[in-house]
């Protein structure tokens, strides 16, 4: 009875305006300010200098090339895992899935650092095995190919998750009917499964492409030493050589990244339009194919890929943290815990970074939860045009690269806030607000899906018995959505803890985040310390993912990304 429920006459009058104002501050205001700065740069003619700068076109070119190649790599790996883990009877699916999603949760600069440690003449690991390339051999990862490869590894889980969501709803009877008519497995795959999984593949490709264009950690570590600048790293370097024109320049550069992202999403939209993928029948095509003897090939292949994606770089990272000095081969005799000691007990910046990242992540996760419970309640109850617009406004900052969000918030808060006369720029609060903006959508999704599963009758009954809004919220709604809320908190916490791109532009004295600390340590030549800190962070990520795994049984389907 949606019509009956919709009236919402006993809901507080402030609720919807409150949400609209919040979304205005978090999405509309910063993006409008960014657009204005861009337009102002156009109007003042300064934009001609920006566009005449060959560095801009070079960076745009590198951004596009690395992103397209990276998307292809992530499609190859992501599709392979999605098809094998969803459709076949390959053993140890849960474990494979857990490990395969792991790279997505690891900060990109840690991924980059680990791979650098793993390859090239530098690798302590290869040196220990005495198979390191000769002196002066170029580090192969400092190249367009290297950046694209790591984009692929980092974003393959996104393709995997998008495609798997589609594969889960494949009609089982279609496959069975084809089988009964004598179609071979290959035929079934080509004629039934592949066409129906196209939307998932396209969606995965689009998400991967957009994430590639906005990635900062990987091109910062792999690109800058080889003078390969993508748009996000170019913005970062522009800030590193601040002039009076910097704000205008980066506004224009951000606008270009935003345009590329939007173009990527529009191509996806275009590709999906005009096709009808509706299917009838029972879904849940678990193990449609029996691998038979092929499993002896498929399972080792997946484990080997995981080994190269995760285990080898991780051990390289550990080795990099244990060597006493650069270029010393790692042996039991040379091994030293100096880097861990320095990071844990001497460097004030580690403690500051841990406190900052954990409080920012905790503040963002819990603060957003309060917002999302109210927003999800209102958005699922109202279902009118205005609330649809509000819902899509919440999505926009999340789909834009972090560097664009950071620039937008710098523009809004660079000058002291009028009336209050408080400066947020250079404080931790500007990072927190930018996190709120960027991760609102992440926090909202699990809560909204829980609200959709909620029977409105329960709340109606309470309302008829005279329970007020907060009473209903706390006694009925919140307990029912609690598991999803928990998942929302952990997801935002995980993502915010590992964030680099936003804080790389917004940090200041005492407000370094973990991402910034790792980047700066590596940049100052202390890559042993950077590796040691990275090792600690990877362990922390795994611990939080395990926590989510333990919660998983009590959650609505689809909230924990790697579970079926």
């Amino acid at each position: 009875m949606p019509g009956y429920v919709r009236s919402g006459n006993s809901q507080p009058a402030w609720l919807f305006p409150f949400i609209v104002i919040t979304v205005f501050v978090l999405s509309v205001l910063p993006l409008a300010r960014l657009a204005m700065a861009g337009i102002a740069a156009f109007a003042s003619g300064g934009v001609i200098d920006v566009f005449a700068d060959p560095a801009l076109w070079q960076a745009t070119y590198y951004t596009l090339v690395t992103s397209v190649l990276g998307t292809i790599v992530s499609l190859l790996i992501g599709c392979l895992f999605a098809f094998l883990l969803t459709l076949t009877d390959i053993p140890a699916k849960g474990v494979l899935s857990f490990f395969f999603v792991l790279p997505m949760m690891i900060p990109p600069q840690v991924t980059a650092l680990a791979w650098v440690q793993m390859s090239g003449p530098s690798s302590p690991l290869l040196k220990a095995l005495a198979i390191a390339p000769p002196l002066g051999a170029p580090q192969p990862l400092y190249s367009v190919g290297g950046i694209a490869l790591l984009y692929g590894v980092q974003h393959a889980p996104l393709v995997y998750l998008a495609l798997r969501a589609g594969l889960m709803t494949l009609p089982r009877d279609g496959v069975e009917a084809a089988r009964l008519s004598g179609a071979s497995s290959l035929r079934v795959f080509r004629d039934i499964i592949l066409p129906l999984s196209l939307p998932g593949i396209i969606a995965g490709a689009a998400i991967s492409f957009v994430s590639c264009t906005g990635n900062f950690g990987i091109p910062a570590i792999l690109g800058i030493p080889a003078s390969i600048f993508t748009l996000p790293t170019l913005i970062f370097t522009k800030f590193s050589a601040f002039t009076s024109r910097t704000f205008g320049d980066v506004a224009v550069l951000s606008a270009i990244i935003a345009l590329i992202s939007v173009a990527g999403l529009m191509i996806q939209d275009r590709a999906l339009r005009g096709r009808d993928y509706r299917v009838i029948g029972l879904s849940g095509a678990s193990a449609a194919f029996e691998l038979g003897p092929w499993r002896f090939l498929a399972a080792p292949l997946l484990w080997a890929i995981l080994f190269f994606m995760l285990a080898a770089p991780f051990f390289a990272l550990v080795a990099g943290a244990l060597v006493p000095a650069y270029g010393v081969p790692l042996t039991f005799k040379t091994m030293s815990l100096h880097a861990f000691e320095e990071i844990l007990f001497r460097q004030a910046v580690t403690r500051t970074a841990f406190i900052n990242s954990l409080s920012l992540a905790g503040g963002a996760a819990l603060g957003l939860l309060l917002l999302t419970v109210l927003a999800a309640y209102e958005l699922t109850r109202r279902r009118d045009t205005v609330s649809r617009i509000v819902a899509s406004l919440i999505e926009i900052p999340y789909s834009l690269p972090g560097i664009v969000v950071a620039v937008a918030f710098i523009l809004v808060f660079a000058a002291p806030i009028p009336v209050l006369n408080v400066s947020l720029y250079g404080t931790i609060w500007i990072i927190l607000i930018a996190y709120f903006s960027s991760f609102f959508a992440v926090s909202l999704k699990p809560v909204v899906s829980a609200f959709h599963q909620l029977d409105p009758a329960l709340e109606e009954a309470a309302r008829l018995s005279g329970a007020g809004f907060f009473r209903r919220l706390f006694d009925i709604v919140v307990p029912l959505i609690a598991p999803a809320a928990g998942a929302s908190v952990i997801l935002v916490f995980l993502i915010a803890c590992n964030e680099l791109t936003i804080s790389a532009l917004l940090w200041s004295a005492g407000t370094q985040t973990l991402g910034v600390a790792i980047y700066n340590l590596d940049d100052s030549g202390s890559s042993d310390l950077a590796s040691a800190l990275s090792v600690l962070i990877v362990l922390m990520v795994i611990a939080m993912m395990l926590l989510l795994e333990l919660l998983a049984k009590r959650l609505p389907k689809g909230v924990v990304p790697w579970r079926s």
Binding site: A55, Q58, G120, P121, S122, L135, G136, P138, I224, P225, A226, S227, F229, T237, F239, S240, F242, P324, A325, Y326, G327, V328, E342, R346, Q347, A348, V349, T352, I355, L358, S359, G362, G363, L366, L369, L370, A414, A415, P416, S423, Y425, G426, T427, I428, F474, D475, V478, A485, S508, A509, G510, Q512, N520, L521, D523, S524, G525, S526, S527, L529
Partner: protein, 325 residues
């Protein structure tokens, strides 16, 4: 209800845990992390009532951050301890610095500090050549790096990322027989310029490149730890920066900042730098292990005022040769 209350309590706690500038002093420095921490630790041990928070980045980046903060009306730093006098001279001319006459100055060569007390040199950091011990050639002169043996094997810090690298380029550019033509010849020989001195150290020690232009203390220290590197003072001479300290005019803690200046110039503070492997600027101090006698190190001259005037043009010339980084 309970969940919400505890969630709200947690939120409040996490927000309160955010350190909203509990520090008394904020130092912006270009020293590597471990050195910056050691310097600050030494100061805090001598002045237990003052807490120092510090930020490390390359000199140009630190200055950019400061300029952005000044433009936003909220400069955070009280003190600068960065690579070169030229940068501080520029800030002095822009009236961003506070004059303070430190009593310790009497122990310093007059050329090493500003007569009005705007900044004081703390150490001598020279830039020479480091090489990986498995490299075929042992360079002794800057010109060796343009030889065919070094083709594609040379790296150097970019003046856009490092203050010392900028002074180094400006110094070599003024040497007869070297000049910008030398940098062009290096580029033609496949040399690259990217990142700061840390990146050069890493690249050469790890064998990605065989030769690098780099500040002295990094390879000398790494060699002592067992890294396969050597540092040479080339026959033409080395460039030098003096990592001066200065107080910002906008400092809200000028008294504490003055104590910091006195500390880094004091014998104790200078010994701290010596222990870290730097050549102290103070008269009568010893040299760290691994350095040749001080009078055998030939330091090439640089005219600070001229360098300051030409900085923008020099950066453009350099970028023109080595690309936009």
């Amino acid at each position: 209800m309970k969940t919400i209350v505890s969630a709200a309590a947690l939120l409040a706690a996490s927000l309160l845990a955010v350190p909203a500038f509990a520090a008394n002093l904020v130092l912006y420095t270009s020293q590597p992390n471990e050195d910056a921490q050691a310097t600050v630790d030494g100061f805090m041990a001598a002045n237990p009532d003052i807490k120092v928070d510090w930020v490390r980045d390359g000199t140009p980046k630190i200055i950019a951050k400061l300029q952005a903060e000044i433009q936003a009306g909220n400069p955070v730093a009280d003190l600068l301890l960065i690579a070169d006098m030229v940068t501080l001279e520029r800030l002095k001319e822009e009236r961003k610095l506070l004059a303070y006459k430190s009593p310790e100055a009497a122990q310093y060569d007059a050329r090493l500090y500003d007569a009005d007390g705007y900044y004081y040199s703390t150490k001598l950091i020279t830039t020479g050549i480091m090489y990986n011990t498995s490299a075929a050639m042992k360079p002794t002169s800057w010109k060796d790096l343009t030889k065919p043996e070094a083709k594609g094997l040379v790296t150097m810090p970019s003046p856009l990322a490092s203050g010392a690298a900028l002074i180094h380029a400006q110094t070599l550019a003024a040497v007869p027989g070297l000049g910008w033509d030398y940098y062009k010849a290096l580029a033609e020989n496949g040399a690259i310029a990217a990142g700061g001195n840390g990146a050069v150290l890493k690249s050469v020690a790890l064998g990605e490149k065989a030769y690098g232009m780099v500040v002295d203390y990094l390879p000398i220290r790494e060699k002592a730890k067992g890294a396969p590197v050597e540092f040479v003072f080339p026959s033409e001479g080395v460039s030098a920066v003096t990592e001066p300290v200065g107080i910002l005019a906008s400092s809200k803690n000028a008294e504490a900042a003055k104590k910091f200046v006195d500390y880094v110039l004091s014998e104790k503070g200078q010994e701290g730098f010596l222990k870290l492997g730097y050549i102290p600027a103070r008269n009568g101090m010893k040299l760290p292990e691994g350095f040749p006698a001080r009078d055998t190190i030939k330091v090439l001259p640089i005219k600070a005022a001229e360098a300051l005037k030409n900085t923008d043009q020099d950066l453009k010339t350099f970028s023109g040769i080595y690309g936009s980084n």
